[in-house]
């Protein structure tokens, strides 16, 4: 703690304890606790309390108040808990019985204030913070506090009840791990006293007839097995396993929904997953007995588990694939059905029942599809997924999508029910398209690719497609187009690919003219994505450029919606790559002309009233530059110069930042093209030629008018810009003055120049408060002046200054203490009035 803070703290404590003062804002109290948490973490010694007696006094005076405010009392409880987290401090506070009085029977928990949820929350959090050592454990267990925690598990406030549950878990772990002298074993269950109390409570609750008690204990066990992987957890489990099993087998208590989570957490614990037999038997029967909705999360969790036994794995996969299997079965002719599942393992009656009910069908499908997507994305890298019948799964997804848009109305009873329920169901469409996109990464689905595009195109074409669904359909289409290209390489199915691409562009043309901005925007994003993934494919480029898409995209540069204009800029920028930047670009009509496009984008950059399109332009320019699309050094210099002139006065700091990025890339490229080393210590070919090129590069930079913008940015009110500009200038300075080179050029430079650079340095020191920038007399285009500026201005000092976080004052504890003190005595409350 700094001296300033320790001087302020007593006054702050006094103010907080003063009941006449209006309550401090909760955020201040929270931040104060954050600070104490940090202090005690780095220095757990008792010095904090000894050096700041005001803290103990504060707690004492709060205890003496007949009717403290609930928020300050809650703060006190939490503060005391944080302070008592170290054993020394605990003992120190206990000298005056402060902790007993706060957390014991006669404390707040027996007062009228206990009714206030914030006080109960403060109590639980306080206890939780100090629960790091045995004395704290004893204070609670022997002082009757543990019963309070048991009760709080069922608190009306969810914040309190979940904190109480987690607290019991941590107490149990603490007790077993600090109080046992010999390892706990199955034969000799010699639990330490506190652990015994908690375990007995768990056992009693599980045996009780109260559903809420059972639920609380199951939740506690779930948390425990999820966070503690010690061998003793198995001993505890053996005591209760029978009871848990009975919840699964008998329907007397409605606890099944919690069992899936419990078993999953256990399966992830090495204690149980390495065990043989009984645990996995229980898991298997859970997969069989729980409803498909309850078993789904368990199944997906198990499939992600590396050590899951094969038979359990198959069972889990069956749970996930069962609904898909039913769909396929319902939609196929009896003889042509080749299912997802072996008929011997599938028992479709329950699932069919759920699918044929309107209330459960969509939710079961959405859940299953989401789980499949989760699973596929987990194994995306591996490209294959053991045991998964990819082609059949793809077929089932396609079937769902066709049921949803009315393209399929099967004759079977379940099939016709499904088509009635699912028609226009956006929820299912969204989830199915997500899985479809994921499936493109797996091998083994390729035979269906033709009919797959029929399904996707139907979605892209249909006017009924909801905008979110359309976006997902675009994403899936893009991924499958990439797959299609890979396939046509190997299969030479050019014609087929060409047809699909033609259809896609036809539909895209229509969508680009949609009245709904969301659709136009998603269409443009889709176009950009396609170009990014497929630009090296000839037939893609041909199809795109021969379609109307490029023209329509250019039209959208004038869209009324700024989001769309921005996406159009990005798309046009990428179109340029294939239209005329690529060496093998096909010759097209003169409407696609490099200069025209650049001029259009440049115009948007200087005139568009909104930030998004301007930001998009600068990003595209950066991309063009980095891809070497801006021509020779001379042309590039002029291009950069034009852009910089436009962006340096932009109102949007992100556009200005883009300008700086462009400069950075340009400098980098210039050095490269002139054959100069990137870093000062890189080897140089010849000192003489190098020096000539150095001066050439400096001249190029000056001609491009970079320096005026760079130096001006150092004083920008948006600090990020100053930092970036300073970094670039530092790099340039290090480049032109390699280590050991004298920086003092005073001898060779004219006096007025020296004078103007000194003046510039003074201006820069004022930072964002500088007036009348640029300083009179500085010639930012004069290489000599700029060389002097780079050599003499202390950029390192400036950089350090700029790198101080702009909110370091805001975050400092001293500022917080001052703010709390400043509000003391303000009679008039400023009403909460927010934006």
């Amino acid at each position: 703690m700094t001296r300033e803070c320790s001087l302020l703290l007593p006054r702050v404590c006094a103010a907080l304890a003063d009941p006449r003062q209006p309550g401090s804002d909760d955020t201040c109290l929270e931040k104060l606790l954050d600070w104490f948490r940090l202090l005690t973490k780095f220095d757990p010694g008792v010095e904090l309390l000894q050096n700041n007696p005001c803290l103990t006094e504060f707690i004492t005076s709060m205890l003496a108040l007949p009717e403290p405010s609930p928020s300050i009392l809650s703060f006190t409880l939490r503060l005391a808990g944080i302070l008592a987290a170290s054993e020394n401090c605990f003992q120190h506070l206990q000298q005056e019985q402060l902790l007993v009085r706060l957390f014991g029977r006669d404390g707040p928990l027996n007062s009228a204030l206990w009714k206030d949820a914030s006080v109960r929350s403060g109590w639980v959090n306080g206890v939780h913070s100090m629960m790091r050592h045995q004395p704290a454990l004893h204070l609670l267990c022997h002082g009757g506090g543990i019963d309070v925690i048991f009760t709080l598990q069922g608190d009306s406030s969810l914040f309190v009840s979940s904190a109480a549950s987690q607290l019991l878990v941590d107490m149990l772990i603490l007790s077993v791990e600090t109080e046992t002298t010999k390892p706990v074993s199955t034969k000799d269950c010699d639990w330490p006293a506190c652990a015994q109390m908690i375990i007995k409570h768990i056992e009693d609750s599980l045996q009780s007839s109260s559903a809420s008690h059972i639920e609380q204990s199951l939740k506690l066990l779930t948390n425990l097995f999820g966070s503690c992987r010690a061998p003793w957890t198995e001993v505890l489990w053996l005591n209760i396993a029978k009871q848990i099993e009975s919840f699964l087998m008998e329907d007397t208590v409605q606890a099944q929904h919690m069992l899936a989570d419990l078993l999953l957490r256990m399966a992830w614990s090495p204690v149980f997953c390495d065990s043989e037999g009984s645990f996995w038997t229980l898991v298997t029967s859970a997969l069989e007995r729980l409803t498909p909705v309850q078993a789904g999360p368990l199944a997906v969790g198990l499939l992600k588990l590396y050590k899951c036994p094969q038979d359990v794995r198959i069972q889990a996969l069956t749970v996930l694939l069962q609904p898909m299997d039913c769909i396929l079965r319902a939609a196929s002719q009896p003889l042509e059905y080749t299912g997802l599942l072996d008929e011997s393992v599938s028992d479709p009656i329950t699932v069919e029942g759920l699918l044929s009910s309107k209330s459960s069908c969509a939710s079961l499908l959405c859940q299953t599809l989401a789980q499949l997507e989760e699973l596929l994305s987990t194994f995306r890298e591996e490209k294959t997924f053991r045991d998964l019948p990819c082609a059949s799964l793809l077929r089932s997804i396609m079937t769902i999508l066709q049921l949803c848009n009315g393209f399929l109305s099967p004759a079977s009873p379940l099939g016709s029910t499904l088509s009635r329920i699912l028609i226009n169901c956006f929820r299912v469409q969204r989830s199915a398209l997500d899985v479809l996109a994921e499936l493109s990464d797996l091998r083994g689905c390729d035979t269906l690719i033709g009919s797959l595009f029929d399904v996707l195109l139907a979605y892209l074409e249909s006017p009924n497609t909801n905008p979110t669904v359309l976006k997902k359909a675009f994403q899936a289409t893009c991924k499958w187009l990439v797959r299609l290209q890979e396939l046509s390489y190997s299969n030479s199915q050019w014609q087929h690919t060409e047809k699909i691409l033609k259809d896609v562009f036809l539909v895209l043309q229509k969508r680009l003219c949609s009245p709904c901005w969301e659709v136009r925007d998603s269409s443009l994003e889709f176009l950009t994505d396609m170009i990014k993934c497929l630009s090296d494919q000839d037939e893609f480029r041909q199809s795109l450029l021969s379609s109307e898409v490029p023209r329509l995209t250019e039209n959208l540069l004038e869209d009324p919606e700024s989001y769309v204009r921005a996406s159009a800029v990005t798309a046009v920028g990428h179109l340029a790559f294939i239209a005329y930047f690529a060496p093998e670009s096909p010759v097209t009509g003169n409407q696609y002309n490099k200069e025209n496009t650049a001029a259009k984008l440049q115009e948007i950059l200087s005139t568009d009233p909104e930030g998004f399109p301007r930001r998009a332009v600068i990003s595209i320019f950066i991309e063009w530059l980095s891809q070497g699309c801006t021509g020779q050094l001379e042309d590039t210099g002029q291009f950069v110069s034009r852009v910089i002139q436009t962006v340096q006065h932009d109102l949007d700091w992100e556009v200005r930042l883009g300008g700086l990025e462009l400069i950075q890339d340009f400098c980098h490229q210039t050095f490269c093209q002139l054959g100069l080393p990137q870093r000062p210590d890189d080897p140089v070919s010849s000192a003489v030629t190098s020096s000539i090129r150095e001066s050439e590069s400096l001249q190029i930079f000056c001609r491009a008018k970079l320096f005026s913008f760079l130096f001006r940015s150092l004083c920008d009110c948006d600090k990020t810009l100053g930092q970036r500009a300073c970094r670039i200038l530092l790099d340039l300075s290090n480049h032109f003055y390699p280590l050991g080179t004298p920086r003092d050029l005073d001898e060779t430079v004219d006096l007025p120049v020296r004078h103007s650079i000194a003046c510039l340095q003074r201006t820069l020191r004022q930072g964002s408060l500088a007036q009348n920038f640029p300083t009179d007399g500085v010639d930012f285009e004069d290489p000599e002046s700029m060389m002097l500026a780079l050599g003499t201005i202390d950029l390192i000092e400036l950089y350090d200054e700029l790198n101080k976080s702009s909110d370091h004052v805001e975050k400092s504890p001293q500022s917080l203490l001052q703010d709390i003190l400043a509000t003391v005595g303000t009679v008039e409350e400023n009403e909460a009035d927010c934006y």
Partner: protein, 598 residues
Amino acid sequence: SVFCWGAGAGQDVGRSCILVSIAGKNVMLDCGMHMGYNDDRRFPDFSYITQNGRLTDFLDCVIISHFHLDHCGALPYFSEMVGYDGPIYMTHPTKAICPILLEDYRKITVDKKGEINFFTSQMIKDCMKKVVAVHLHQTVQVDEELEIKAYYAGHVLGAAMFQIKVGCESVVYTGDYNMTPDRHLGAAWIDKCRPDLLISESTYATTIRDSKRCRERDFLKKVHETVERGGKVLIPVFALGRAQELCILLETFWERMNLKAPIYFSTGLTEKANHYYKLFITWTNQKIRKTFVQRNMFEFKHIKAFDRAFADNPGPMVVFATPGMLHAGQSLQIFKKWAGNEKNMVIMPGYCVQGTVGHKILSGQRKLEMEGRQILEVKMQVEYMSFSAHADAKGIMQLIRQAEPRNVLLVHGEAKKMEFLKQKIEQEFHVNCYMPANGETTTIFTNPSIPVDISLGLLKRETAIGLLPDVKKPQLMHGTLIMKDNSFRLVSPEQALKELGLAEHQLRFTCRVHIQDPRKEHETVLRVYNHLKGVLKDYSVQHLPDGSITVESILIQATAHSEDQGTKVLLVSWTYQDEELGSYLTSLLKKGLPPSTS
């Protein structure tokens, strides 16, 4: 049930987020952020909604009441980072303006160092694409059962109250609202929709405030005085909302007083903001709509765009600059330049979080530590002026009177201070009023009347036996209730069997009666037969050749007790139709047989 994450007590602001479960549907009302934190505490902890399972599957929809960040600030986080993929509803102006504010806040946030876990521009856009915009008073069908409807709420442009209805149960959520019209917006209005629950904000329920006119007069006086003595006035604002109201105020005042000092609005946001005010003119109040024909109130004559170089110009001026809490960017830069001159003034029209320069100067601090340990001495005048539009206790009562809810739930207020209002509501309207703490779930029981369709066949049958329908006399009607796809129908049993393709089964009730009789079984049967014949004169009692007795559908058989030959067991069974007779007969037999006459 209703669950609120909510903000803290005192003057804490933020994180309006309520989860309502109504008739099996789950709806999230608002998704706000807390601007006082830089870590994950700024967003509601959504893990409380569902421990396992996806939010998209759990929630049926999200509704945003208006564009203030404490009501929508966590939305991109929720939809793009937590992964909610379902529908989001808000009014058209809110959909248009929300991204501007989110973008504004994102830019300020990422400008600072150490900010992680924050959404990007792309995320804001992707989130807005999921939004379905609604019109006022348009009933929007979220799915087949759930419908929502927006009502005008005043407060800010596009603010709405929402009615959420499932079947015959409904909830109204007010968001922030204002029952008195102000300079550019009208007063909130709702029809007598009699919801089961009204969830009302109560920010100003316990605050007594000067009339808004007084505050406005005070504001104009202060600005005028400063400008007159050659000083500069800085008004830090966020891009939208308060700023427009103050612009109208100053514009008309400048016009009336023929003032010449320039008024500037910084960062180019004003055009876009004003553009939306023009676009959504129907959402403003009547006066603005009327004058719109002659002159658009939002086309300002005196207010010009600000260039950063203007800050150093000599002479008086008024500048609106963002952000509103003086914690970064242009407003802070101008403040630093002007703070040293006592002729100047800064007017803070809104809430500032702890740590910001705005918060510090409002709490009276005059020596501020800036970056690089420099001390900035604040000599300029500092004024706080709240113009926010919330309903006060009177307004809340007025809304309850309008909507006539069956229960009221107050959010956004301090329990202790609110006790008075709660009592008043309960006394005046005879309804329950709840004030749950954050994290507490309130459950309200409704008595839904469930509509049931009756088949024509059944109705005809009832009238055929002479029971004509009469509105005043409720009738008891027997039939079979079929529940299918959340609808109920009462049909005749025959029709039910036919529809469901089921076969009829006869249900027989059986009962064993023990009788002390040492005689042979057939003799006991004969005694029973004679007894029944004597008692049940109007019924046909038969003694069958197999030794059993029948009375209508009732069948009686006798056997000897396996262990005690002196006891005979009579097995009595009857169908549902003869339930009454069966029970009577059993009780008769249980009393024993009359002494034998033979």
